[in-house]
Amino acid sequence: MFKELMTIPHVVFGVFGVLFAIWVAVEAANSSEGNWPRLKLASTGSAFFLWLSYLFGGWWYVVYYGVAVPNSDKSIILAGPWKWSHTFFMEAKEHLFFMLIMLSILLPIVVFRNPVFKDKKIRNVTIVIALMIVVLGLGMEGFGAMISKGVKMSLMGGK
């Protein structure tokens, strides 16, 4: 049961990371000196949750998903009709995630070290980084759904 429950943190923390990035975009679009502390909080929160998602997801991937035993998710997918849910979606997802992690580091650097509320261009770069996190993050969620479906298709015999 522990193994199954530990699939939850990766997904939930990832969603939190995306939600905090949306919060950053909204605060930056309406930035003023008064909401700079909230911008700092939201950007830190996005980085914090995306890193938690990375660490939990990475641990689960290495320890459970990809191990060379017949009942690992990877083995089950590759034995079924949706092999590409691993060979495309998982392979792409696990490597695109690194870009998400880099953006999660860049976002608070920009927010903490620049007066976002004073300069339109700095406000825009903040919004751009946040939106890239949102786009990649939502992509991760979609890819994750396809991977889960790949396991299901194998267990259902491809029907």
């Binding site: 690194f98 650097i109 920009v110 509320f117």
Partner: protein
């Protein structure tokens, strides 16, 4: 309350890390191609931290951080303003993403 119409330059650390993001994203994609087409590299990466993906992540993130700090020491402020930094972030996301997706795309039709 201060107005946001004033002009402020993006600080050096932000510029360094924005440029580093583009470079590290491209490196991320190229490292996939290298390790997937040259098995000894993948085996070596696996031997370092137990799994090639773990090593891959460490390489990419460490490169991003080290390069970010190094580039922040360079005087890039006159060449890269906040608008160009936005372009670097978009380019890094799109190009880095396309390399990854393009490389694995062939598997969709297997």
């Amino acid at each position: 309350m201060e107005k946001r119409s004033e002009h402020h330059e993006l600080d050096k650390l932000s510029i360094g890390f924005a440029l580093s993001f583009l470079i590290a994203s491209l490196f991320n994609g190229l490292l996939i191609i290298a390790k997937e087409t040259y098995a000894p590299l993948k085996d070596w990466m696996k031997s370092l931290f137990g799994h090639h993906w773990t090593t891959h992540g460490i390489f990419v993130i460490v490169l991003f951080i080290v390069l970010g700090y190094a580039l922040s020491k360079a005087d890039l402020g006159k060449k890269i303003d906040a608008d160009k930094a936005s372009g670097l972030v978009i380019a890094g996301t799109v190009l880095g993403g396309l390399i990854v997706v393009r490389f694995f795309f062939k598997h969709l039709f297997e």
